[in-house]
């Protein structure tokens, strides 16, 4: 029994790595196979080796690097501003009973409109710069953070509210020391979701017309018939996204250490 458990636990640690490597290798093989069997023409899907070979090209392209910085700045700004606004609105809306229903109606109405459908309107209003990207992406990220904030506030332990009242804390102190920390695990989940959404929306705006950004550069390479460079760019974006995601999960665990003991 004990050895069995030990094996299982050992597999639990090595398992994800082995499976991950196996997954990547089989994907590369399948990719190579698709090209070799002529299922997809080379001009649409270059082989894995030519994509990997294009990595130096894209990494030394100043436009791509500047674009990446631009996209990252737009994403970061969106998540920062979106979090501040959504958390503040969420805390206020949750504090007053009469605001709760109207807030949910507004949230459910507006979040049903896909943000990418607003890109043309955004272009009309804000033009093709940073302002347009961030505005559209903001629209997309505030809803999930707002919903998670409201949900998180609702999970606040009522006894802790009583403690705060009996300690005679004012509204601000109650928000800062009880409500916000209680909602924090849920808010951080919302922010993690929002980062992914912001990245998707920012790159979409770039594909559909923004003047700068990785998306813009990828469109240019598509038009120049350099598919291997486009794929190399997509590969880099995927890797960056994966690294960002795991960094966020780790940061989240550090920020709310008490959750697993509560």
């Amino acid at each position: 029994m004990q050895t069995e458990q030990a094996t299982v636990r050992g597999a639990g640690r090595a398992g994800p790595v082995v499976l991950g490597v196996a997954g990547v290798v089989s994907l590369l093989l399948l990719w190579q196979l698709l090209g070799a069997l002529d299922v997809v023409p080379r001009s649409s899907l270059p082989g894995p080796w030519s994509v990997l070979g294009a990595l130096p090209t894209i990494l030394s392209d100043q436009d791509f690097l500047a674009g990446a910085l631009d996209s990252a700045a737009a994403t970061g700004l969106t998540v920062l501003v979106g979090s501040l606004v959504a958390v503040a609105v969420g805390l206020v809306a949750s504090s007053f009973a009469f605001l709760q229903r109207p807030t949910m109606v507004v949230v459910n109405t507006f979040r049903s409109v896909p943000a990418t459908a607003l890109i043309p309107i955004g272009v009309l209003i804000f033009g093709l710069g940073m302002q347009m990207k961030v505005s559209i992406a903001l629209y997309a990220v505030v809803w999930p953070i707002l919903i998670n904030t409201i949900y998180g506030v609702a999970t606040t332990e009522p006894m802790r509210r009583d403690v705060a009242r009996s300690l005679r804390w004012g509204w601000w102190r109650q928000q800062a020391l009880v409500t916000l920390p209680s909602a924090l695990p849920s808010i951080l989940t919302g922010v993690r979701v929002a980062v992914g959404i912001a990245l998707v929306v920012v790159i979409s705006t770039e594909l559909l017309g923004a003047r700068y950004g990785v998306g813009t550069v990828l469109v240019q390479y598509t038009q120049a018939s350099r598919p291997e460079v486009v794929y190399a760019g997509v590969l880099l974006l995927g890797t960056a996204g994966a690294l960002l995601f795991s960094a966020l999960v780790r940061a989240e665990r550090r920020l709310v250490r008490w959750v697993h003991h509560d």
Binding site: E157, M159, R160, D162, V163, R165, S166, L167, R168, W169, R173, L177, V178, P181, L184, V256, R257, W258, H261, D262
Partner: protein, 259 residues
């Protein structure tokens, strides 16, 4: 300071659906007194305590702390809640749990620090200020909750079944701890419990409540010598007599008192 419960009544709901939790009840907890409030579940003992704490509004009647009517949580009154795991703030260290309890008192930094250290020392947690509640055993966490109640140096401390969630040995330790700090801090205590032995062991006076609707069934004076001792006090014939008296009132309220 006296805590006066003056013709207080509490009911939930309205009209035909109204449920009376506590019928009109009057009670005075005198300054420096230790009063146990004991009764079966549903007798409104926690409701009564929460109204004394200013956390719950009576349906009618008035609570007074000294001469001041209680309309919200008053200064000089602390509450120890039933479940430490839900009443402490797990995102704060023990020291910060205590320091933030002092914010409404508006003390200087130095005074705050010395009060916090003193409170930690009083409950046997000196040097544990940097720990987080979730790193501690249940007994230690409830000590933190008691220290948080004492750090404001209250005149009145209300305790709502504070030891319901700890094991028997820890419970005995915590009972003696409360009896000790009560004198150290010169605090008036109202102590809600459903444990009959505990109600007798701790108190100067026992208020026994009956259920459906909640009301005072008896008000008994405990003439046991102090300091109390977990072994000696419980061997005392007076302890046994009081214990069975309270037991009868709580468990068999319809039988008449035996001589």
């Amino acid at each position: 300071m006296n805590v006066v419960v003056d013709r207080v009544r509490k009911s939930y709901g309205r009209g035909a659906e109204a449920r009376e939790v506590l019928t009109e009840t009057s009670l005075t907890v005198r300054s420096q007194e230790f009063v146990s409030i004991v009764g079966p579940s549903g007798c409104g003992k926690s409701t009564l305590l929460m109204m004394m704490a200013g956390l719950l509004k009576p349906s009618s009647g008035e609570i007074r702390l000294g001469d001041e009517p209680v309309t919200g949580p008053p200064a000089g009154l602390s509450v120890v809640f039933q479940d430490y795991s839900r009443s402490l703030f797990p995102w704060m260290s023990v020291r910060r749990n205590l320091t933030t309890a002092l914010t409404a008192s508006r003390l200087g930094k130095e005074e705050q620090r010395s009060r916090v250290e003193h409170a930690l020392e009083s409950v046997g947690l000196a040097g544990k200020g940097e720990m987080y509640p979730w790193q501690m055993s249940g007994g230690m966490q409830q000590r933190v909750a008691i220290a948080r109640a004492l750090v404001t140096e209250p005149t009145v401390m209300l305790m709502d079944e504070p030891f319901a969630a700890v094991d028997a040995q820890t419970r005995a330790d915590l009972e003696d701890l409360v009896l000790r700090v009560r004198h150290e801090y010169d605090v008036t205590v109202a102590f809600v419990t459903h444990d009959i032995d505990e109600s007798v062991y701790m108190a100067d006076r026992i208020v026994v409540l009956a259920a459906n609707p909640g009301r005072i069934a008896a008000d008994l004076t405990v003439d046991l010598p102090r300091p109390r001792d977990q072994v000696e006090t419980k061997l005392d014939a007076r302890f046994a007599k009081l214990r069975s008296e309270v037991f009868r009132l709580v468990m068999r309220p319809d039988t008449p008192a035996s001589a």
